[in-house]
């Protein structure tokens, strides 16, 4: 129960940190509660909306109720999903409309537009002018939402004829089939991500997990990776040249740390794999 209370508190606090729509929502409820226009035709509807939201809040803030939901439906461990049941934005807009209707009775037409503008400015200050930018929401490089660096690899592979069975770092493996359904992969996003829906009752084999683990630290495992890839029918292998890893580690670019496959006797040209092409961050080998 303590965990549920903490969960509710954490979600409410997070909602208040990033924006103030929660504040507008509570102000809207106060308005509906204390400033009902008894002469209004819509008094019944105002009362109905108010009671609906209060009942909803009492239920969804109630740790017992939330604990019961989470116990019966573990998928609802994300408490904030339950809050979607309450049309918070609709209620704020409703209260705002009633406020504007009231001001219309007492002001001139031009002043009403000023009040509408003020309300819109308040909404923009309570929210955000620019959408929520984070690791998951970024400006689109292309319609697929695939970052440019991975897109270069996929567009290069698109030029190849025949069936492609691909083994690549996660960043490429995770988007390959989004770009082209004809590209087969040795394993998919469901192997490393629990949040992607599991469409298949098929389970991955132990070899898939081993290959995945090797691909996380490929340096020193060239022989094993190329051997397993060749045995599993892989005909295209993509490996990182180290650029992205250096950027993520936030270290100064060290040319010596970048893998250079263009030299003779490079360690990846085993079991039939030969260097096909290179992009900004990746080498593409073909068997």
């Amino acid at each position: 129960m303590q965990e549920v209370v903490e969960l509710i508190r954490h979600v409410q606090a997070t909602l208040m940190v990033y924006g103030k729509y929660q504040v507008l929502f509570y102000l809207a409820l106060f308005y509906l509660l204390f400033k009902q226009n008894k002469k209004s035709d819509n008094q019944k509807e105002q009362i109905g909306v108010l009671i609906y939201m209060l009942v909803g809040l009492i239920l969804l803030w109630n740790p017992l109720f939330v604990a019961a939901i989470i116990h019966v439906f573990p998928q609802f461990a994300s408490y904030w999903q339950l809050l979607w049941v309450l049309p918070m934005i609709g209620v704020i807009a409703y209260a705002g409309t009633l406020v504007l209707a009231e001001t219309k009775e007492y002001t001139k037409k031009k002043s009403w537009w000023i009040y509408l503008s003020i309300i819109c400015v308040i909404f923009s200050l309570a929210g955000t002018i620019m959408p929520y930018e984070s690791e998951t929401v970024k400006a689109a490089d292309n319609a697929y939402g695939i970052p440019t660096r991975q897109m270069e690899v996929l567009e290069r592979l698109d030029e190849e004829k025949g069936t492609i069975t691909l083994l690549a770092p996660d960043a490429v493996m995770g988007v390959a089939r989004r770009y082209n359904g004809a590209t087969k992969t040795l394993y998919g996003r469901t192997l490393w991500s629990t949040s992607v829906p599991k469409d298949a009752a098929d389970a991955y084999e132990e070899a898939d997990y081993k290959l995945y683990a090797l691909m996380q630290e490929p340096t020193g495992h060239e022989e094993e990776i190329t051997k397993m890839a060749a045995e599993r029918g892989c005909n295209y292998l993509v490996i990182s040249n180290g650029t992205i890893e250096q950027e993520e580690a936030e270290v100064p670019r060290d040319p010596n740390a970048i893998v250079d496959l263009s030299v003779d006797g490079n360690l990846w040209c085993l079991h039939g794999f030969q260097l096909l092409d290179e992009t900004e961050c990746y080498y593409i080998l073909r068997r």
Partner: protein
């Protein structure tokens, strides 16, 4: 360009026709496009659910399913056009956008700005595999035979849950019919379509929230929509917010349930209450069919357990509200009588 316009027109017209037929069958009120478009949208999803389940049972290819769907859609739209002429005339001729006002222009500007957000920002796909399923369906010309994550043929087969979720198949069919770019269609056109449907649902809510007639009510509804649009535009500040879902995950079934089905259920509960008080006979309860349709629509859109939980909580709160209002009303009447 022309195929995009044609696809857009079909995505607007087909739900409208389906909805008109539905409303005619159950003698539901039609005053605006929203009254027919939203139920029509649900019917479209249910229609594709039925044909997809049939196709999967018969192991039909995607192209054959598309052919069946196209033929049936044409027939149903033809029937709707013939039987619902009066209703369609009422929506599009008698009650059109009577005049363009500054407020409606402001609303349109907000809508266009939201479309810009949808196009400018990358879709959020970390927890979604719709595009992989679509690409698999289109490449292999099958439904549910190949693992979308690897492209290999299923050994154990898809889960029951993924068999019932038809949004990827629905999108695949439309892409194949019009030969569209899957990414542009899924990540740009569909979110705009769902956003538009979201506006229509809130228009239905506004119809219930502002009782009255004529210009004043119409004016309040437009103002409500302007404020709703403004809140949507500036509300994308956290992944838990509805605007985030609409702008960055608009194609997902869960977004459709949260942004369209739940508000629709609310508006129909309010309509039902009004009908019980004011109407007679069958028209008292005919809105129940819309509620049933909304409940059934959850199955093809998202994981049924979670979907029904959303519905159950919404309906429970609505019923409790109705009881409290009734008890409060009776108590108030008794106090008045005593005094």
């Amino acid at each position: 360009m022309s195929k995009w316009i044609l696809c857009g027109a079909v995505l607007l017209i087909v739900p409208t026709l389906f909805g008109s037929l539905w409303n005619k069958i159950w003698k539901l009120k039609i005053t605006t496009v929203a009254d027919v478009f939203v139920p029509g949208l649900f019917l479209l999803f249910c229609f594709f659910e039925a044909t997809t389940v049939l196709s999967m049972k018969l192991n039909w290819k995607l192209s054959r399913t598309v052919f069946l769907d196209s033929c049936l859609l044409l027939v149903l739209c033809g029937v709707a056009c013939m039987l619902c002429q009066k209703e369609l005339r009422q929506i599009f001729i008698i009650n059109p956008i009577k005049r363009i006002t500054i407020k409606k222009v402001i609303l349109a500007v907000f809508f266009l700005l939201q479309i810009t957000v949808i196009i400018h920002f990358a879709p959020v796909v970390q927890e979604d595999n719709t595009m992989e399923v679509i690409q698999t369906n289109l490449t292999t010309d099958t439904i549910g035979m190949y693992n979308p994550m690897t492209g290999q043929a299923y050994q154990s087969g898809p889960t029951l849950e993924s068999k019932l979720l038809i949004t990827p198949v629905f999108y695949s069919c439309i892409i194949q019919i019009f030969h569209l770019n899957p990414a542009e269609f899924l990540y740009r056109m569909i979110p705009v379509w769902i956003l538009f449907a979201g506006y229509l649902v809130y228009w239905l809510l506004a119809e219930q929230l502002f009782i009255g007639k004529g210009e004043e009510k119409q004016d309040k509804k437009v103002v409500f929509m302007i404020l709703y649009a403004c809140l949507l535009l500036f509300g994308d500040y956290l992944f838990t917010m509805l605007p985030y879902r609409l702008f960055h995950c608009g194609w997902m079934g869960e977004t459709i349930v949260v942004a369209i089905v739940l508000p629709f259920v609310l508006s129909q509960c309010m309509q039902l209450k009004q009908n019980i008080e004011q109407k007679h006979g069958f028209e008292k309860y005919n809105v129940v069919f819309n509620l049933l349709l909304a409940c059934v629509t959850v199955i093809p859109l998202m994981d049924a357990e979670r979907g029904f939980m959303y519905l159950a909580i919404t309906l429970a709160i609505a019923v409790l509200t109705l009881l409290i209002v009734k008890i409060g009303g009776k108590a108030g009447t008794r106090v008045c009588r005593r005094s």
